[in-house]
Each structure stands twice: as structure tokens, then as C-alpha cells.
Symmetry: C2
Subunit: 257 residues, 2 copies
DNA sequence: TTCCATCCTTGATCTATGTCACGGAGAGCC
DNA sequence: GGCTCTCCGTGACATAGATCAAGGATGGAA
């Protein structure tokens, strides 16, 4: 699948490619592939050695890990996310599997070329560091959420984050199947159902993939969102008024769709 | 506290400084401080803006996060670990608090200088990327352990990792108080006690900070260690023989003490 | 020595979460 | 319509983990 001019322009706008000089950019693109995959395609299995940096141009990619016949989803990535960057930088094997959830257009950049470019174009190398730092901080946030909050609280905060991202609407649309969401939030589908049921007391009404947040203030009081865990970018949080809610800066961090 | 020549040599050996050119190294050190802190000193509180990259030269530093009056330990760092690198690279505020657990010697490098150096010395910038990538992968491992394993399994794997790192000895020494270990493993101290008690059936005997692993094979059968979760570097795993145990490469990743 | 503080352990109990089983709603198909 | 499939919700139950309370061990400090 040829790389279209319009795709190139989109990719060029990625933060970690924006500061690269034209020469670096050209080199990276020259050895790159753009491929369209159907839903459910396994792009990478954990343990595989990694030859490419992947960039989601369209669709959704799920990053997951397994152990002892159990599986968990670690992140869901939408357009213009990179993944497997850390493994590429270290030229080692992947710790996570990557699977498409929708039909997806994926740009694959040669890992070898990327590493060489980083060592020759310092501005580009710095931008990659920033991208990695963003991924790292995204994971720190997930980890804190996982260890410090209970299931209902994780769900409540997820809903609030979605609400902000979807433009403070009253009714949000869950972007994924509920069993996928359950795994991302670290619980079973059965428990997610029950968590939704519990949130009815806080003004949350569920209708298929549509979730109406009738009393955002009440839900927020339960969720206690925190700027150091929840990344509500690009919108800024209003209301609430507690210490940590006062300043809610945009974080240039990876967003988990 | 003046920076001694011997300290400089140790710091120079850090992977992420080894490839830096002499000029870069000199510049980084020039604006650096070496400070000795007593145990229990808070170096950084989550939310603080970050001006320095920290490097543990001696002692132990705990990275923790809080929410809703609960606290959890995210990592315990020993000598020659860096921390808060991601926040420095992005010039943003810290997501974790950092506290000394022992008396500790900490080298502090100006964040501004570091960022400038990265953009001027591509080899150095690349090395920082590798350091960040290692931190990221360490967190991915923790996350998988947290979401996929139960408390007893997490403890069992912790013990096996310690055994490998301490040189395959029969009796290992827990490097931290048990309540600290409990928080790191994501459980309460009470539950850690009970988890130790359960492991008695698998040949584990506890005596204060000394833990004797009488039947490593039996414990390993329970723990099911996995190269994609547990980082047993620098030693290589022997025995076991299951698929994923065959190759257990040394991972150049951050080690959580 | 006695006192006190800290850390750890243990038992009783409660809560959260996982597991198993079942049934309904809806989509696609013949 | 009737079939089958997947996803979702729900009840009954089992298990893991948290909480509360108490007490034992240890190691200073007076």
C-alpha cells in the first residue's frame, strides 16, 4: 500500500517527528511500509524480536500481556499513537502483544533506521526521548490507578475522562466493547457490569455503548479524579475545586484511547 | 559535599553517561550537586516541578504515589539508579514522590543542562532514550505482574528474583522492611505475612529478614516465572525447562531493588 | 532493669472480586 | 420465522484480599 501524500503530512505532525530535520524524516519514510490490516490481526506477539516502530494512522490497536493462560489489556491506542518504541530503541524483544481491534492502517518504520537517525539527528533523538517519557508517565498513571483505586473508582474515573475527551457531553459513547474495557480496567466483564450497576446511584445510566452521566458532580465526588493519575488532556477540568483540581495542565503524554 | 574523583568514575560508568562525550559529561557534572541525605528525607513530592535529574550513588530511594489518603510504593532504587528522568525530559512535574529509605548519597544534575546536552550530543541523547526505554519496560513488567498474578504468586516471584540476584544462595536477605515489601508488591502487611505463611508449604521458611528457600524447584513451579515479566538479570535462570525459561537474556533494564 | 516504640504476626470478620451457570437481547443468516 | 452466534447482564457461590483488634518480639532510651 503506497504511502499517500496526505498520510505523510499527518505523520509529519507527530510530536516526535515534527522536530526532525527534513533529511532525517525522508530517510525514515524511505524504508517505511504502510499497511492496512483487518480487525483482529496480531501484529506482534510478546517475546518477538522487534524490527519496526509501529504508528497507528487509522483504527485501533490493543496492547496486551499474558501469563499463565490469563490475558490483560495494557493499552488501547487510537490514530497517531506509536507503539513498541521502547523495544525498538533497545533493539530487544517485545514485552506486549499488539493486535488490531478495528481495520487499521499502520505505518511501520525500520527500527534500524530509527536508531541510526536518533544518533545522527540530536533534535530527533530528543523528540523520541520525549515520546518515551510520555509513554512512561502514562504507565505510571495506570499503575497508580491500578494499585490505589478499587474497580468502581477506576470505572468512574474512566467515564469522567471519556466525558472530558468527548467534549463534556451528557451522554458518552464507549469506544470499545465492555469486555475490552473490563480488561483494560483490570476487572472481569461480570464485575464491570456490576460496577456500572453500582454507579446508577450516582446518576450513571447505561444503554448499550451509550452511557449517560446525569449528575457529573456527584460522580466526580465518588471518583476523586487526580491530575497526577488521570490525564484529562486535551480539555481542562472544571468544577470540583479541590486542591489538585485547581491546575490541570495539558500533559503531552500518550493517551490511552 | 564535594564530588569526589571516585564518585565521578562510578557515575561515568552509568550506561546513559558512558557514551556521552567528555565535553558533555563535564558540562553535566559542572552544574551538579552531590548531597548526603539521612533516611526518611523527602527529596520530591508528587506534583512538584522537577529541576534536577537524581542519581542514587549510595543508599536506597523509594518512589511512591498517593491517592485519597492511600499510598503505594512503585519502586525501590539502589545505587546507580536514576529517577525522575521522564519528568526532566518533559520539563514537567513529578508523578511520584521520592524518599530516602537509608542514608543516601544523591547526585543531582541540572535538568536544563541535561535537556540542552541531549539536543547537542546525539550519542548522549540516544543513551538517555535507552535509559528511559529501560524504565518503561520495567514498569510494563510490574504492571503485568500486578494485573495477572495474585499476591502469593507475586511474592513467590519476588523471592525467586532475589535468590538469583543474591547469587543462588539458599537463604536470602530481604533488603527492606516487610511492610515496604508489601506495598511494593501491592498488598497489605497483614496479607504479606499470610502469603509467607502459605509459602511454608513450598519450602519457604522465614526468620526475620532471612528467608530460606528450601525447595527452589517447588517454589518455581508455583511462581511460574516468566522472562517477559520477571527481570532476573544479571544472572541467568537455570532449571525449570519450560518454553519461556529456555532463553533468559540479560535485560539492560532498570532494576527495582 | 523497666519503659516505650516499632515491627511483625495472627485470628476474626467483612468486603471486593472472581467464577460458574444461566438467560436474554440483538445481529446475521438460511 | 427460526436458527445460531456473540455479547451482556445477573444470581449464587467461592476465594482473595482488606480491615480491625490484639498481642508478641525486638531494640533502643531512661
Amino acid at each position: 500500500m503506497p504511502i499517500k501524500e496526505v498520510d505523510l503530512e499527518r505523520v509529519r505532525e507527530l510530536p516526535f517527528l515534527k522536530t526532525a530535520n527534513d533529511d532525517t524524516f525522508r530517510r525514515l519514510i524511505q524504508g517505511a511500509f504502510l499497511q492496512r490490516f483487518p480487525a483482529g490481526t496480531t501484529l506482534l506477539t510478546e517475546g518477538d524480536s522487534v524490527d519496526f516502530l509501529y504508528i497507528v494512522l487509522d483504527g485501533t490497536v490493543e496492547l496486551s500481556g499474558t501469563w499463565n493462560d490469563k490475558e490483560t489489556i495494557l493499552a488501547l491506542l487510537g490514530p497517531l499513537s506509536t507503539f513498541i518504541l521502547a523495544a525498538v530503541v533497545l533493539d530487544t524483544s517485545a514485552l506486549m502483544s499488539a493486535t488490531t481491534r478495528d481495520r487499521s492502517d499502520i505505518l511501520m518504520i525500520s527500527g534500524e533506521t530509527l536508531r541510526r537517525a536518533m544518533q545522527e539527528d540530536a533534535a530527533f533523538g530528543f523528540a523520541v526521548s520525549q515520546e518515551l517519557a510520555g509513554c512512561y508517565r502514562g504507565l505510571v498513571r495506570s499503575m497508580k490507578s491500578q494499585k490505589l483505586r478499587g474497580g468502581i473508582e477506576r470505572l468512574a474515573n474512566y467515564l469522567i475522562t471519556q466525558r472530558v475527551r468527548q467534549g463534556d457531553v451528557e451522554t458518552i459513547t464507549l469506544p470499545h466493547e465492555k469486555r475490552v474495557l473490563a480488561s483494560l480496567l483490570g476487572m472481569t466483564p461480570e464485575n464491570l457490569s456490576r460496577a456500572f450497576a453500582s454507579l446508577a446511584d450516582y446518576g450513571v445510566a447505561v444503554n448499550g455503548p451509550l452511557v449517560t452521566i446525569g449528575r457529573p458532580v456527584v460522580l466526580t465526588r465518588l471518583a476523586k479524579p487526580d491530575a497526577l493519575i488521570d490525564n484529562h488532556a486535551p480539555e481542562v477540568m472544571r468544577g470540583g475545586g479541590k486542591a489538585r483540581l485547581e491546575a490541570w495542565p495539558n500533559q503531552p503524554e500518550r493517551m490511552t484511547v
